[in-house]
């Protein structure tokens, strides 16, 4: 600014104006003085001297006002010429309402908003550019879902650790260049033709489920393929994501089985209730004895329905962990007495040889009496139910140092080796026709095991088909306080 060359255009304009004005003034004064010497118009001399000076000064002020705005803009522009990169610091709004000022201000605003956008863009670029690098790969490796990129031919360009595990490769080895679908399909023992074709032939994004074996429990993968369009930074290819949905599928199957079994178990007593109630309602002339029989059946079917609903509720509460045990100090004698009271009528009806063995001295247990009683009734009830008439059932209590064992042994139908592992599953019922003939919800053993588990105990089983079974429920004995 201080250098002569940088003297602003407006200032120079004022300078030129003033010089021209002084020149004119001098000329006028010179003319006036010449006329005064000749003695013409002597009175005019003072006016001739003063008036042009006044006009000149007023003009200079007016001119200064006019060029003031332009001077501000001009000084900013000339400064910008020296520091072209510092536009945002140098350029500033002017305080003037004329069109040029307003135009200048608009220009500045536009420039500012463009700058803001640009800086955001560059920040984003910096961020994203970073993530596709090392951090991006780490992120992909940390995902539980299998992710792989392949080129347009299906050769792997990248596979994350989860994907390596899913396609049966060591996560630290390299699979780059191998064909992805071949790797994936080699994992399955099932017939994959159809799935393969579906995944390979689709032109757009596609999702397919891949069975790893004949049964759902062998594994199910959900495979999704998305096409990646070619851009400046990526080549054309595919993004594959593979998720293990076995647990989800198993849960679905179990839920369906549950609904099927539960509705069947609910419908059987319901159908009986409807049939008996309508028979009673539509026939006034049934003899009294038969009527009583029908009413008793109605009551017992309603009880059965209620019990099933209770069992269902118990099981679901225990499994969701929302049940609390009401533990009290419990006498084993009382427990055994109560259990026997429940099962003896049926044992007598079937002429079962029922043997009860108790040790002379039994400790007290700290248990939820109702639940343990119900569990033992389940075990003993099963023993009686699934033992042919005139068979043998033995109920024995064995006291150890830290626990008490309840042995329930029968000479019944027994359980086959294949069915033994499924025995404690909810709703599981043996396919054995002799067992199917007896009604049961398939919930008793699941309940019993849950009760034992909640008490810190367990239920074990030994069984041989057509020979009999032995169930042992173990409950811990609380340490003596004295």
């Amino acid at each position: 600014m201080s250098s002569p060359s940088s003297l602003s255009l407006s200032r120079r304009l004022i300078g030129v104006y003033l010089m021209f004005g002084f020149a004119c003034l001098l000329l006028v004064i010179a003319g006036a003085l010449a006329l005064a010497f000749r003695g013409q118009f002597p009175n005019l001399v003072p006016y001739v001297l003063v008036a042009p000076i006044v006009i000149l000064v007023a003009g200079a002020f007016a001119l200064r006002r006019t060029v003031h705005l332009h001077a501000a803009i001009e000084s900013q522009l000339s400064e910008l010429a020296f520091q072209p990169t510092a536009a945002t610091q140098i350029l500033e709004r002017v305080r003037d309402a004329n069109p040029i000022g307003a135009g200048w201000n608009t220009l500045i605003e536009q420039l500012a908003s463009r700058n803001a956008l640009q800086s955001l863009e560059s920040r984003l670029e910096e961020k994203l550019g970073h993530e596709t690098g090392q951090a991006g790969l780490e992120l992909l490796d940390a995902l539980p879902e299998g992710i792989a990129f392949t080129d347009a031919n299906g050769a792997i360009t990248f596979a994350n650790r989860a994907m390596m595990r899913l396609i049966g490769c060591d996560p630290d080895s390299s699979v780059t260049g191998t064909m992805f679908l071949e790797q994936l399909m080699s994992q399955s023992q099932a017939d994959v033709e159809e799935t393969w074709e579906r995944l390979e032939s689709a032109t757009r994004s596609v999702v397919a489920e891949l069975q790893l074996g004949a049964a759902t429990a062998d594994g199910v993968l959900r495979v999704a393929r998305h096409a990646i369009k070619a851009s400046s930074s990526t080549e054309e290819g595919y993004l594959w994501s593979v998720r293990d949905v076995t647990q989800q599928k198993l849960a679905d199957e179990m839920r369906n089985q549950f609904v099927f079994t539960a509705t069947h178990e609910l419908r059987t007593p319901l159908a009986n209730i409807k049939a008996y109630a309508e028979t009673l309602a539509q026939n006034d002339d049934i003899d009294v004895e038969r009527q009583h029989e029908f009413y008793n059946i109605l009551t017992s079917e309603a009880t059965r329905l209620g019990r099933f609903v209770d069992e269902l509720l118990d099981i679901s509460q225990m499994e969701s962990g929302s049940v609390s045990l009401r533990k009290h100090e419990t006498n084993i004698e009382r427990l055994v007495e109560e259990v026997s009271k429940h099962v003896m009528p049926e044992a007598r009806r079937k002429k079962i040889d029922f043997e009860l063995r108790l040790p002379p001295k039994m400790p007290k247990l700290n248990v939820d009496k109702d639940k343990v009683t119900a569990s033992l009734v389940n075990l003993l009830g099963n023993a009686i139910k699934y033992t042919p008439d005139e068979g043998k059932v033995r109920f024995e209590v064995v006291v150890n140092e830290h626990d008490v064992e309840f042995h329930i042994e029968d000479t019944g139908y027994g359980i086959s080796e294949e069915e033994l592992p499924k025995l404690f599953q909810k709703f599981f019922r043996s396919d054995d026709a002799r067992i199917r003939e007896v009604s049961g919800s398939g919930l008793g053993l699941a309940f019993t095991q849950d009760v034992a588990r909640l008490h810190g105990g367990k239920v074990t089983v030994l069984s041989e088909l057509n020979k009999g079974s032995r169930f042992v429920m173990t409950l811990p004995v609380p340490p003596k306080s004295e």
């Binding site: 159908a271 209730i273 049939a275 028979t279 539509q282």
Partner: protein, 158 residues
Amino acid sequence: MGFGFQEAGPIFCTTLDRDPRRPGEREVLMETNAKRILLAEDNRVMGDVMRFNLERCKYDVTWVTNGKAALELLKEQEFDILLTDYQMPGLNGQELCAGFKELDRDRKIPIVMISARGLELDVDRLREDLEIVQVLYKPFSPRTLVELVQMLLAPATA
């Protein structure tokens, strides 16, 4: 006593002057040309009430609790209608019907399959393959059962 009877009157048979459970009298009924029903139902409670309602209508009901026994009876004796539950231990209703078809009797008898809804029976296929004429879903009203049997046995009666 009065109004319930009125409602039941047109469909249900009036009081039988016999105890349906007394076997001696059933022999008499058989001789008097009562229609013979074979009922295969594994649920004892349900079977009992079905037999009760059918016997009140003077049908001669033979009730077995499994498919195998039903098939044995079908081999040995003549029946006018077969009512069978779908879910039974051993031989289920469908297998029973298939076994019966294999006997290839000259005289065709109507078959009613009783099933719990939700088993997703392919009714059309059952009709085509096994000559089942009706499927009755549980829970059903005993009146529906009796009406159905009456309808299926009507042409011969008339």
